[in-house]
Amino acid sequence: MCLGVPGRIETILDTTPLERSARVSFGGIRREINLCYVPEAEVGDYVIVHVGFAISRVREEQARQIFQELERLAELEHSRGKSE
């Protein structure tokens, strides 16, 4: 369910509360996206977009966690390799 694609907010197009919207870029292709549900999102932020609506702002710090985990695993692996 629920195709959600991360895109970068480039320009705010409308600031009416319910119809707050922005031009959002997805790898260069752009479309107007409704921002009503991400009042905190600003130009430069990435948002997850579903059927033309931003449903969530992507949090950079949390996004890093998985790569930190991968590094941790790599170290563990490395030390396991050594210890074997």
Binding site: C2, L3, G7, R23, F26, G27, G28, R31
Partner: protein, 339 residues
């Protein structure tokens, strides 16, 4: 499951997938079975006098008529020129048959005719015969163009799916999916801003250059409806060979990728109008790439896979993660997805 008589045509019957395959197999080809139509090629090679003449046809029904990077007139010339080129023929003569819908603006027609003339000049073909029909409003879509083409084979190679051989390298002439996405971006309700234009382009010069370079081409196929994946599946079936393709080797521009993510589409199935795959002996792949690299239209050529020793007529896609899956035809029309 055979197509049944009480069915009606749906859009999926025209989109290059399984529905279309079955329509042609069950309703069209049984009535026109002969040595030419059985070849699974997009043109027929005819012996006329001492000459090998190639003959092909296509109707162009693109909407909108003008799109980023081209228009229906250019497409109608290049599309048929490309089909001729895919037999290794030099395109010579085109027919031009117009179906105009009542209400079409004459200035639109004028622009399209200019565009056809320009495309004909670029490709060195002559538009030698034509036809013009007008249909009532609501019984057409502005403008349909049919072009049929005649080309001449000036070499002794046989270029056909049946010549595909195990060990052949598969060369793709550039990035995929731009034409289809440029068209889709202008659809009602989608309306994306596309930074990139259709890949619509004439392919006869790169092909003739490939031949001139001495590459012993086994098979050529331009990518149109159904995109790269469908072209490969068709060729696997026509040749009875197994093809292996590396997903990572296939160029897809970031904006095509972005649009595909957004709509839930697969760029491997999105239409092109200026790309082809060439099957060449592995030892000639470098020679072929060198020849293609000289032409701006095919500068992005790359080997994307090869013909295996496998005995199943199928296409194996090795994706970027290293896992494999089977490519097949789409069932019918490619529809934007919500999930």
């Amino acid at each position: 499951m055979p197509v049944t008589q009480d069915e009606a045509i749906r859009l999926g019957h025209g989109s290059g997938g399984v529905m279309m395959q079955h329509l042609l197999r069950d309703v069209v080809f049984p009535h026109i079975a002969n040595q030419w139509t059985s070849q699974g090629h997009d043109s027929a090679t005819l012996a006329i006098g001492n000459s090998k003449v190639v003959f092909t046809t296509d109707s162009f029904v693109v909407s909108p008529l003008f799109f980023p990077g081209g228009d229906i007139g250019e497409l109608a010339v290049y599309g048929t020129v490309n089909d001729l080129a895919m037999s290794g023929a030099r395109p010579l003569y085109l027919s031009c048959s117009l179906i105009l819908e009542e209400g079409l603006s004459l200035s639109v027609l004028e622009r399209v005719m200019q565009s056809m003339a320009r495309a004909a000049a670029v490709t060195g073909v002559q538009l030698v015969t034509g036809d013009t029909k007008v249909v009532e409003r609501g019984k057409g879509d502005g403008l349909f163009i049919n072009t049929s083409g005649i080309g001449l084979i000036e070499h002794s190679l046989e270029i056909a799916p049946q010549r595909i051989d195990s060990g052949d390298s598969i060369i793709l002439s550039g990035d995929v999916g731009r034409h289809g996405m440029a068209i889709m971006a202008s659809r009602e309700g989608l309306e994306f801003e596309m930074p990139l234009a259709s890949d619509c382009a004439p392919l006869q010069s790169p092909v003739l250059e490939l031949l001139a370079a001495g590459v012993e081409v086994h098979c050529l196929r331009d990518l149109t409806r159904g995109g790269l994946a469908t072209a490969l599946v068709e060729l696997a079936e026509s040749s009875g060979r197994e093809l292996a393709v590396q997903e990572a080797a296939v160029p897809v521009t970031e904006s095509v990728q972005g649009a595909c993510e957004l709509l839930g589409l697969d760029p491997f199935y999105v239409a092109n109008e200026g790309r082809f795959v060439a099957f060449v002996p592995r030892e000639q792949a470098a020679l072929a790439l060198a020849a293609l690299a000289k032409n701006p239209l095919t500068r992005g050529s790359a080997v994307i896979g090869n013909v295996t020793e496998g005995t199943h007529a199928q296409v194996i896609l090795q994706n970027s993660l290293g896992s494999e899956r089977l490519l097949d035809r789409l069932p019918g029309e490619m529809l934007p997805r919500i999930c």
